[in-house]
Amino acid sequence: MSLLDIKDYRLDIDTFDGPVHVLKGINLSINRGDTLGIVGESGSGKTVLVRSVLGIGPRNARVIEGGISFDGQNITNLSEKEWAKIRGIRISMIFQDPMTYLNPLFSIGRQISDVIAAHEKAAGHGVSPKAARRTRTEELLDQVGLPNPAMLFSQYPHQLSGGMRQRVLIAMALAGKPDILIADEPTTALDVTVQAQVLDLINSLVEKLNLTVIMISHDIGAIATVARRCAVMYKGEIVEQGLTRDILSNPQHDYTKRLLSAVPDIDAAPERVAARPAASEPAKSRFLLEAVDLKKVYRSQSGEDFTAVNSLSLSVRTGEIFGVVGESGSGKSTLARMLLRLIDPTSGDVIFDGQNISGLSEKALRAMRRHMQFVFQNPHSALNGRHTIGDAIGEPLRLQTKMGRREIEARIEALLDIVQLPRLFKYRYPHELSGGQKQRVCIARAIALNPRLLVLDEPTSALDISVQAQVLEFLQQLRAEMNLTYVFISHNLAVIRQICDRTIVMKHGEIVEQGETEQIFLHPRENYTRTLIESGRKTSQAADL
């Protein structure tokens, strides 16, 4: 008999506009010791499905048909009291963003020993003394490979790095010695090198503790690293399931095929969409943007200095896509913001089209801004939820030009055409759009004034893989059509390889390596670059095919 059995599971969520069919007859069974991956894009219902297994689904959810049984017990409609015996003890869960899933006001030790105490209480025997729970907590921290558990015990989440926090969450999930560990996008919010470590940890735990793992992810590479079996979810249904190896090498369903082809491959030499725009404009200088000796020092309130970017120089050629790659904390975003003087550098110069913008007055800088625009990482937060799409796109026009109402309306429609969205979208609000559509709106807003330079800060990392592919392709088309130059920031090496002409690799605020992108990928000179590419390859699905 299988450990977990999901049969004909149908679930609706009641909304203001009536019920939404979120899960449409899910059939899935998992045996003890199995590792199952669930792949699907956002909105496919994968998170709702696994949360139902723990009884922590959305409040207004209703089970229409079918049920879930765990170890022979029907757990579809358990009471809170009965759940207490299962949750965190027999089935436990780790989450996507280790920062937001730890309570910021309680120490690591307190949070884990609370979980231990809760389990002891649920099991019916009394709560063990503080010291015993502390020992157990330190054991758990040690088990997930965290150094110095005794010190960690009294530390708070904000003092830990992302990878360490994820390990803490895993330790917490292991506290009850669970049968099933559910991992909900456990690596999505982490850096590539850390991703690989966390996946390794999960793999070693599966072996050591005979864990059964259900991992959901939109990153097929991560699934392939951990899961032996795999299910593909699409619009609330499982469209395909079987051995991961088989599905990756021989996908049957259309959606799976599309999904797999959308995954950027770190080992594939790119085919560029369009050649560089013919030198139609006589370029004033060969470089559109130069940074000379840029430096940014942040001073914390306690008086310590933190150098985010250190003496960094670069030059971006007119018409190229210039990649910036590095892990979080490497200073990528600080650099991007300094390039457009959204923040002022501590020292150094930024030269745009032959003009030094570091010394420009507020007014001159504002005039300059129409030539250089920024696209932010998260389109969900980059748009004001109370403004219509039309307002958002029209804003730069209202601020920077003397165009009349009609002209602006016409321009908005033209811009929607350019980003391939229906014109009627101008009346809509951001929450009515999908992530990919929102990012298109952000791009439309950025190109409204016909800029010459776009700085894109991780423009696709908040998007699903299939959407990412569309946006990347669209960005390349747009560059050719509008004669644009991009500075493209990403932590995803496969994406960088796919679209960037030249690339710099950043670490601790400095350039580790720079050159033609292909050159860097084929013959990395520095160890750090090699590690980065190796980690990227490990989770890149191509390596597992």
């Binding site: 723990l54 436990s92 309570n103 904000h158």
Partner: protein
């Protein structure tokens, strides 16, 4: 944490100097010649001039300011014209009554507001939530003097359960003043009947003073709880098997308390200001009543003194709130 506390105390001193400067400006732009006021309506020019010299009013504004600040630094708030006693002495004599009232009112606001806000959030849109919504809107909307009189009419005049006004009946001998707070002093002295009587006296004014404050604490805490309960770490805590009660009453509440605390700090200052109205309605012998009676007899030194005193308490309260913030939130400790 210590440097943090030290910096807060420095800020406190700076703000006090600012308030003192502001009150100086206000008293000097107020119409009327203080010397003539002091001298009285029948005084001759000579007498006015003498008084002007005596009070230093013939000096330039800058000089007057230096003298004023110097006096303040020595704790000299000037002398009341009516009672001819030092203002500081009088303010200190009336302050405990006001503080006692404010503490009780604030206590009510917190003890009732925080849990009700929490429950309204947990049972959002349920019957309790609807009731507290009406309750809190009326709390902010009802004018204190009207609400006070209404309560007096009902509980003191009609039902006769509680005294109409004052702090203690004339016949009751107050306990030896250690803290100046009757409720505390009477307990310390073991006079339980006095405690009971003073408790009966403070109930109505405290309710009137705390009502708007309770309402806003409730609303802020409710809104924060709703947000915190939707956060990821609450989902995680549920998934790890922590009990619902512990999640709400500990994990979520601690996070929701931060903005609530800020509201409490602000409301504290507002309350001190409102004592002027409430003390007048209930004839409560605190600094509010003192300020009103002084102002009515054009005796401005006490008014300035009371303003400074309220400013001082307000800043102290908010410094405590800041320190509590750091105590609750580890992220702020280093800063």
């Amino acid at each position: 944490m210590l440097t943090f506390a030290f910096r807060k105390v420095l800020t406190l001193v700076g703000t006090m100097i600012g308030i003192a400067a502001l009150t100086f400006v206000i008293t000097n732009v107020a119409p009327g010649d203080p010397a003539r006021l002091v001298a009285g309506p029948n005084a001759t020019e000579d007498m006015v001039a003498t008084i002007r010299t005596e009070y230093g009013l013939d000096k330039s504004l800058a000089e007057q300011f230096v003298v004023y600040m110097g006096d303040l630094a020595h704790g000299d708030l000037g002398t009341s014209i009516i009672t001819t006693r030092p203002v500081l002495e009088e303010v200190l004599r009336y302050a405990p009554a006001t503080l006692e009232l404010v503490f009780v009112a604030m206590g009510l606001g917190i003890v009732i507001g925080v849990p009700l806000g929490m429950l309204s959030a947990v049972y959002k849109d349920g019957p309790l939530d609807q009731v507290t919504r009406i309750f809190s809107i009326s709390g902010v909307a009802l004018p204190a003097f009207w609400f006070g009189i209404l309560l007096q009419l009902l509980f003191s005049v009609d039902l006769g359960w509680l005294p109409v006004s004052g702090r203690l009946p004339l016949v009751t001998r107050p306990p030896e003043a250690l803290t100046g707070l009757l409720l505390v002093d009477s307990l310390l002295a073991g006079q339980f009947s006095t405690f009971w009587v003073s408790f009966q006296h403070i109930i109505l004014p405290a309710i009137v003073l705390s009502f708007p404050c309770l309402a806003s604490i409730l609303r802020v805490n409710r809104a924060e709880m709703i947000e915190v309960l939707q956060s990821d770490y609450i989902v995680a805590a549920r998934a790890h098997g922590i009990s619902s009660f512990r999640i709400v009453a500990l994990y979520a509440l601690k996070n929701a308390l931060l903005p609530t605390l800020a509201m409490i700090g602000l409301r504290f200052g507002w309350m001190l200001g409102s004592t002027v109205l409430v003390e007048t309605v209930f004839d409560w012998p605190g600094i509010g009543l003192y300020a009103v009676s002084s102002a009515l007899s054009s005796d401005f030194k006490p008014v300035v003194g009371v303003t400074l005193m309220i400013g001082f308490f307000f800043i102290v309260a908010n410094t405590l709130v800041d320190l509590a913030y750091a105590w609750i939130d580890p992220r702020l400790r280093k800063a």
